[in-house]
Amino acid sequence: MTKKTRVATVWLDGCSGCHMSLLDIDEALLALAGKIDLVYGPLVDAQEFPKGVDVTIVEGAVSSQDDLEKARLIRARSKLVVALGDCAVTSNVPAMRNNIPVGKLLEGIYGTAPVDGVPPLLKHAVPVHDAIKVDLHVPGCPPPAKAIAFVLGELLEGRMPELAGKVRFG
């Protein structure tokens, strides 16, 4: 039996819609189970981002100090990083807060902002490639399941997917 590809999925500041679109490959998930080990992500129980990951798929923008640290760790431990969806690619909806100073934003929502056990926000929500090197960008809000299946299929075959005509923003 050939070695399974080690795949991680991560969401930073996003809505989980890109992960849902990943699940929207439906029955293709069954075949995928034989080819990959899902070693980290919201669908599995790993507490720590492991070393030696082949492909990490990132949903969401980099918005908090946690996001930034996590992005750097992902880069250090992954051979290939894929920015999945418009929030990861452009920072999209999370960036709508960028023209409001963080202090004012938190004060407006909470009065007194929570501080205990919660990470500080960065001044701006930024795309993943602003924080780390990204190997492949897959836009869409969310990218269609078909495009995600294509990307996974190509990557598992060791090819870099050619996405022209298969995805668009929004």
Binding site: S16, S21, L29, D45, S63, P119, C141
Partner: protein, 472 residues
């Protein structure tokens, strides 16, 4: 004093961490659930035209975008002061039922079934949906097929599975075609068969979880949910009702604009998630729960034949107000059956194909409140606009927020019962996470969160020395 951290809580929507405090004897003294990110939708939407709100707020959540779309368009309907065409209301409800099916399938099969089928103490590396596919392929196949049915129904109705733009202020932007109706109807029986099968299976094994049932958030709280004029379950429209832990009605037929008389919000220093409570009783006695369990607890009936039979059996087993959060799973399956039966009834209604599906109007009121049941519970969108329709103020109370205080109490109860601070085992901690999963929280809804990198569970002494440690 020692502290345990679970970070992140896994197999939930969004990220959270849990802190558990223990005394010197290793017994739990307190526990908190932290939601660790904030997105600021309420602030950054100020100044946007109100009719942009549905498509912006749908991006709060990729699992239940339809709920945000619906609460938002209902608030916009109120700002336009229109009564939407009857068919538009039927179509919105139909769409919503599709979403309930897919979201409940996700929660039950993809997220919680690994605990229920593979075991709370099973190997964490395989305790996930891929492990389920390997060890229970038929059950996994059913879960994937049921979720697909719901997502497909949404796609056939609204054009896209996630973040569709079909629902608009005043109704929906296109009528239903007979072809789309027939496609959904053709797939319905198989989806119903899956839910029936899963319910029968679940009822057969539920008694094996006696210890979890007794300690998984088995706490007296109030319950809140939408009901129709006669107390029947409602998902898209209806009035708010509160019932107490003994099963007594405490408030009923509350209209959307009155919500603030009954619900107040407090801010916790330990979480970006605000904590609503039942205002007349105050923050410590006013803890209430929403979502599948709460809806079945507040309603007098479901209103469809098969779901009503299950509803009766459920309450016969667990009383008028079932108190354990573990029963969220059971309630979720009954609701999935209800949603499928309701879809069938809506599609059989001749009015569903009517072409009048949208009312047009400008700004006729400067304030609007929209309430719908999201799969996870009551969802409130409240907007104030200026004369031009620009948002001046917005308040969003999301389903998971209502459960915040109850989830905290539940986490504490599970921790107290299962955690032995002197002999940490992974399965103990998984049970603490599993009670959070039972609530099926949607934390990107609640604010959105992100966990810390390089995480493991550590047990620290009062002086900060490492006493015990768990790494995967």
């Amino acid at each position: 004093m020692k502290t345990i951290r679970i970070d992140p809580v896994t197999r939930i929507e969004g990220h959270a961490r849990i802190t558990i405090q223990l005394n010197d004897e290793g017994r739990v003294t307190d526990a908190q659930l932290h939601v660790t990110q904030v997105r600021g939708f309420e602030k950054f939407t100020e100044g946007r035209p109100f009719y942009e709100m549905p498509s912006i707020t749908a991006r709060i959540c990729g699992i239940c975008p339809v709920s945000h779309l619906l609460a938002s368009v209902k608030a916009c309907d109120a700002i336009m002061a229109v009564q939407i065409p009857e068919t538009a209301a039927l179509l919105r409800e139909l769409l919503h039922c599709g979403q309930f099916v897919q979201s409940h399938a996700l929660s039950f099969f993809h997220l919680s079934a690994p605990d229920l089928l593979l075991g709370m103490d099973s190997d964490p590396a395989r305790r996930n949906v891929l492990g389920l596919i390997e060890q229970h392929p038929e059950r996994a196949r059913n879960g994937i097929a049921l979720r697909k049915f719901g997502q497909q129904a949404i796609e056939w109705l609204a054009g896209e599975r996630i973040h569709p733009s079909w629902t608009v202020p005043g109704g929906v932007n296109a009528p239903l075609s007979p072809e789309a109706r027939d496609r959904i109807l053709a797939e319905l029986p198989a989806a119903k068969a899956i839910v029936r099968r899963t319910l029968a299976f679940f009822k057969g094994v539920v008694d094996q979880f006696a210890e979890e049932i007794a300690n998984f958030g088995n706490i007296p709280t109030l319950y809140a949910g939408l009901v129709d004029a006669t107390g029947g379950l409602q998902l898209y429209d209806g009035k708010l009702r509160f019932r107490d832990a003994e099963g007594n009605l405490v408030a009923d037929q509350i209209r959307a604009p009155q919500y603030a008389q009954y619900i107040a919000e407090t801010t916790l220093p330990t979480s970006y998630l605000k904590a609503p409570y039942y205002k007349p009783l105050g923050v410590s006695d006013g803890v209430y729960r929403v979502g599948p369990l709460a809806r079945l607890n507040v309603a007098d009936r479901c209103g469809t034949p098969e779901a009503d039979a299950e509803f009766a059996e459920f309450h016969q087993r667990y009383g008028r107000a079932a108190g354990s959060a573990f029963h969220y799973h059971y309630a979720r399956l009954i609701e999935a059956l209800y949603a499928l039966e309701r879809m069938e009834a809506l599609l059989a209604d001749q009015a569903i194909l009517d072409k009048h599906v949208r009312a047009h109007a400008g700004v006729n009121a400067l304030e609007g409140v929209g309430i719908a049941e999201a799969p996870r519970g009551v969802l409130i969108h409240h907007y104030k606009v200026d004369e031009n329709g620009a948002i001046r103020w917005a308040n969003l109370i999301v389903a998971t927020g209502h459960n915040n205080l109850a989830m905290n109490r539940s986490v504490r109860q599970v921790s107290e019962h299962f955690i032995d601070g002197n002999h940490l085992r992974e399965g103990m901690l998984n049970r603490v996470s599993a009670v959070v999963r039972a609530y099926d929280p949607c934390l990107s809804c609640s604010t959105h969160a992100a966990g810390m990198p390089d995480i493991h569970v550590r047990l620290l002494g009062a002086d900060g020395t490492l006493l015990d440690e768990l790494r995967q």
